[in-house]
Amino acid sequence: MNPARGSLLGIEHLEAAEILKLLKFARRMNPDKPRPLLKGKRVFLLFYEASTRTRSSFETAAKVMGAHTVLIQSIGSSIEKGESLLDTGYTVRAVGADIIVIRHPNAGAPYLMAQHLDIPVINAGDGLHEHPSQALLDAYTILRNKKTFKGLQVAIVGDIFHSRVARSACHLLSKFGVKIILCGPPELVPEIAATLAPGVRVTRHIEDALRGTDVVMLLRVQTERLAGLKIDLAEYIARYQMNPARLKMAKKDAVVMHPGPIIRGLELTSEVADGAQARILEEVRNGVPTRMAILARAMGKMR
């Protein structure tokens, strides 16, 4: 079965025009002004993995739009008893879900859900694969700060291999001709990462990544996903940590972004995290209107 209309499974197969439409609609959304586009609808949040920002942001977005939300987490539900993903999906559908928002440790889990259910499925992060709502809110944040994607250069520094945020960001920015530089050690940034999308290249040198860059996107080293991979954190800090001196190598008006959670003292220093160029909390704020737009689109209300 094809995914229901309004599903958002990834950025890779989304058209540029659709992305712009979503971002434009998001700008009209105001989290402080209730907008009952989802009145009476039931949004089920299936979270098989820990989340602070994404979950609270989707929940807030849904509530601002008048929807009921139900949160299901793997701990404290039948998932813990061994219920399969699909059976949980069928159950949630039977309870009356209109939209499913799913975060899952396995890549492709939202596809499986969408292929078997007749309601829109929204990917809130699937394993190492994609995190489309994050890419959209980051694009929203970039546009607020840089007005246009035209001529932009974005450096993504850190653990690209384990990052669904990086994959979605590359797909999205590439569709608008943005130059994307991935930077980090080979264990975290394999050469093959350059094949993700047109306009993506890989470098090992932070100066190379930062020179002429408009947006510096930092990523956490996902120690919980390393799976036996050995990373020398001291070495990582020495070569790639973002500190004020390094940030000066980027353009003067460069902004610093990070999908969170941030680990101060590892991928960035506190001076950078709390500095004037940081847009980290703005990203979180922008998450709500962006997800309002995603939910409105899911229900065919994005007009």
Binding site: S84, N106, A107, G108, D126, G127, F161, P190, I192
Partner: protein, 440 residues
């Protein structure tokens, strides 16, 4: 179908004359119109058209068809004992017969593992309901745990034709060496599932651009090649050692095997239809019917395998038929079971991909299903139709166009990426011990 009642009550098996067909028997170097007479479970006579005198109880009109020695599959998971919800000997061999196979070698990674004489005997009991010949490959180590070798001599005497820990590798260097030494003394092939499992933990497909894009951890080609290289090195230096590499899937592993063969080591290997047909680029939307181990590899790996098929380096095409129930496949890709079914599509994929597209002669393809596999495991009296051979015959139509419908499969399971594929070439009749066990 012949009437089973009749064959049970009559002392003598009815004789069968296969008339008007084109015989391809690579071992006998025959590729010509020939009639074949089967009598008392053996090949009684092979002669040019209309030269066989005297009558036969039954006749099979093979005009326009290829008559070949019975096909042998070196690698199938018939799932008994213990996993009858996936497949049974009865259903698996029914699927085999439908696919033109007269003999199937069943793998020991069952529950429990087939590592004893008792289980070999159990597998060979008539109660299992086998429709075609079933040869047992027994475990190489106890419970396939890789620590202690099984009793090769006893297993061989009980009828096992080879040993393996398939599903996982015989990993420890000294255990593999011991297995090859003992196998060499007994003329007993050791079948290796070549995978360095230290490199493949949590991996669900081939490591490459596609796995990176999909966010799936990938199995590197090196994970296969390093084990094959070690095993070939061992086989080259142990007298009479017989190494058979299961489901070889990478260009690098192929290089090792080629080197071993050049050095006259007794190294054989099989390739699967899915590895010569598909690549890692073919999987769409996390469809777990594209998940198997070894995984679908890169285009260059597939090209290397196609080249080895074309130049005849490959010893056998084997299916690695690995049935799973729907609920074991319809789940998160990374959690879904490895394996696909293959008995009913192997011949058609070989004809469609290798013969029609790659212009590999039919005689060579027939060899990969007959004389080749018979040689790998010393299946005496099989793999050829010279007079006196066992009367296992596969009759197929190399031009028949058909669409594979997984829902109509005789296997218990439906996990195949080839559902709905339009294919060319189909088994028309499968003859086991002189008796037609499948026609269609």
């Amino acid at each position: 179908m012949t009437n089973p009642e009749k064959s049970r009550t009559s002392v003598r098996k009815p004789s069968l004359l296969i008339k008007g067909g084109h015989l391809i028997d690579p071992a006998a170097r025959i590729d010509a119109p020939m009639d074949v007479l089967l009598k008392d479970g053996r090949v009684a006579e092979v002669a040019p058209p209309n030269k066989i005198k005297g009558g036969a109880d039954e006749k099979f009109d093979a005009r326009g068809l290829i008559v070949a020695p019975g096909f042998i599959d070196l690698h199938a998971h018939l799932r008994e004992p213990g996993q009858a919800h996936k497949e049974t000997i009865a259903t698996g061999t029914a699927a085999a017969a439908a696919g033109g196979f007269t003999s199937v070698c069943t793998m020991p990674n069952t529950i429990p593992v087939v590592d004893s004489v008792e289980w070999i005997e159990w597998l060979r009991q008539p109660e299992r309901g086998a429709v075609v010949n079933v040869f047992v490959i027994a475990a190489a180590t106890r419970s396939s745990k890789g620590a202690t070798l099984t009793d090769f001599r006893a297993l061989q005497t009980a009828g096992a034709i080879a040993v393996t820990d398939d599903g996982k590798p015989i990993f420890d260097d000294s255990i593999m060496r011991e297995a090859l030494v003992l196998g060499g003394e007994l003329n007993f092939p050791v079948v290796q599932h070549a995978e360095d499992t230290r490199m493949t933990e949590n991996c669900s497909m081939h490591a490459g651009a596609r796995s990176f894009r999909l966010g799936l951890r990938g199995m590197t080609a090196a994970g296969e090649a390093s084990i094959v290289e070690r095993d070939v090195q061992l086989a080259m230096h142990i007298p009479n050692a017989r190494l058979h590499v299961a489901h070889l899937s990478t260009a690098d592993a192929l290089k090792s095997v080629r080197r071993g063969k050049r050095a006259k080591a007794r190294v054989t290997f099989e390739v699967t239809p899915h590895h010569f047909t598909l690549t890692d680029e073919d999987m769409r939307d996390y469809d777990s019917n594209y998940k198997m181990n070894p995984p679908l590899r890169s285009v260059s790996d597939r090209e290397a395998i196609l080249a080895a098929l074309a130049d005849g380096t490959v010893d056998a095409i084997a299916t690695d038929h690995a049935p799973h129930a729907a609920h074991e496949k319809e789940m998160e890709f990374e959690r879904a079971a490895f394996g696909i079914t293959g008995l009913e599509t192997a011949l058609a994929l070989a004809i469609t991909r290798l013969h029609r597209e790659k212009r590999i002669p039919l005689a060579r393809i027939v060899e990969f299903f007959t004389a080749g596999p018979a040689r790998c495991f010393d299946l005496r009296g099989r793999g050829s139709l010279v007079r006196g051979s066992i009367a296992d015959v596969t009759i197929f139509d190399p031009k028949k166009k058909w669409t594979f419908d997984a829902a109509k499969s005789l296997s218990k399971s439906r996990n195949t990426p080839f559902d709905g594929w339009q294919l060319t070439g189909k088994a028309v009749a499968t003859v086991v011990g002189g008796r037609i066990v499948h026609s269609g």
